[in-house]
């Protein structure tokens, strides 16, 4: 009973805040509603007994991705009225994409069945290990190559992003800490013997 109540609570807020993401006038509010919906999705994961996934969702999406979203959106100087004006003309196109997505989901869902082995495992689940351990055991044994490939893809993406944005500007003074630390009095001070009246 309490679980069902919690489920409806989380899902209602999730759907409402997801709607507000696209309905809110202010983009910063949109991002904050997105964060709220992430939170409620994490709550649903915990309710399912997948507490590891719930926590990871909060750490990765709310703690890192959404912070950077917010960072970018806050720095944009947006005229909200201007932004809203032309948005209605894209409605048919957006609706079409949405319809296609819903149709694809329905098609995938109608033919999707669980493997008999998975159903059997689900029927008498014996929680001998926590789901963190279970995920780790599967991820690092059966799917270790896929896991490594995913990591490699992310590494390539990261290097690509750095290469695209890194530019070396000439004439910029940078601090060279090792040079500073290696500096001694002998390198920094020059002794000159200047005769009185001659000047430097």
């Amino acid at each position: 009973m309490l679980q069902a109540l919690a489920f409806y609570f989380f899902s209602a807020i999730l759907v409402a805040s997801a709607l507000m993401v696209i309905a809110a006038r202010n983009p910063v509010h949109s991002v904050l509603f997105l964060i709220l919906s992430f939170f409620n999705a994490a709550g649903l994961f915990v309710l399912l007994g997948a507490e590891f996934l719930g926590m990871i969702l909060v750490v990765v999406y709310v703690g890192a991705v959404a912070v950077l979203f917010l960072f970018v959106v806050m720095m944009l100087d947006i005229d909200f009225a201007e932004l809203k004006r032309g948005s209605l003309q894209y409605l048919p196109f957006g609706a079409l994409i949405g319809l296609v997505l819903v149709a694809e989901l329905a098609m995938a869902g109608s033919v999707w069945v669980l493997k008999p082995a998975a159903l059997a495992a689900k029927a008498h689940a014996t929680p001998t290990v926590t789901n963190t351990e279970a995920l780790g055991l599967i991820l690092y044994t059966d799917y270790v190559y896929y896991f490594q490939i995913a990591g490699l893809v992310l590494l390539v993406a990261m290097i690509g992003a750095i290469v695209l944005t890194l530019r070396s500007r000439p004439g910029v003074r940078r601090q060279n800490i090792s040079a500073q630390n290696a500096r001694t009095a002998a390198m920094a001070v020059d002794m000159h013997d200047i005769k009185p009246g001659d000047g430097a």
Partner: protein, 360 residues
Amino acid sequence: MALIPFWNWLGAQMGVGLPYGVAWFLSQAVFIVILCLVLMLAVAVVILADRKIWAAVQMRRGPNVVGPFGLLQTIADALKFFFKEVIIPAGANKVLFLLAPIVAVTLAFIAWAVIPFGKGWVLSDINVGILYLFAVSSLSVYGVIMAGWASNSKYAFLSALRGAAQMVSYEVSIGFVMITVLLFAGSLNLSTIVMTQAATGPFTGPLAFLHWNVFTLLFPMLIIFFVSALAETQRPPFDLLEAESELVAGFFVEYSSAPFLLFFLGEYMTVIMLCGLMSILFLGGWLPPFDIWPFNAVPGVIWFVLKIGFLFFMMAMVKAIVPRYRYDQLMRLGWKVFLPTSLLWVVLTAAWVLVFHRHA
């Protein structure tokens, strides 16, 4: 939890049998209220201690007027904040402006739900305790960002941008340090992490403290965690968010009265929480340093509080002694020193565990 028999007894006295769920709910609620009160009292003490230590280093006397030795100074300050008017700037986004301090203080409070104060003395003994704490501490940046943006002030906004970059950067090294510890312990549960540091190996009795994580391979990680914790809570020398010389007071420059008090409360609460987390991860939590009488007769919670006090003293000394970092130095330290070191240590620890531990 421990109070469930009490509620069952109370229910029996009133002539009704309380269902388990209700008894559980009541005992959790009582624990939460007690915990919050104790924490707020602790924050009052810690703020005073911070100011006193700071003053002692500078050969001043610190707060010494309100109450004996100035002990009631923090209470007086809190009362003063409560009775002042809440001023909201005309251009501010009212909802977010008031939501930001509430978010900050709520996150500071909910982190304590998984901290074990002693054997079994924990509100919620969840399996992913350390991950929960990591999630909560990665959210604390939102209080800063929301406050900075909603204030509609350039100083607050600059501070929010600094804060977002700084806290996301140091989050990374904190995460890797946590990974090294949980590799060592083989568990994400905080109570289990403490229990793996109990004397079970070659050192017993008066040498029991040698089993703490700090006296193992993980010693450098304690230093990285300590410095990252300073950066994460914007304490000096990393208080660039509230650098008085540039940004007046940073993200809370527009705040007054109770909302300001909430920011203050949340900040110190997070500091104590990170000290507690450090003592759990590295200093054996509630375990006594010497496993002999009379040390092991002292309740674990007292050792835990003493360890938190020691770590906070170190933080206060850093605040009093070290000058503020420049922003590029801060970023260099986070990304070019701490990140590679902690990453290397994850690999080293994993190898160590594989070769020497062989648990499960």
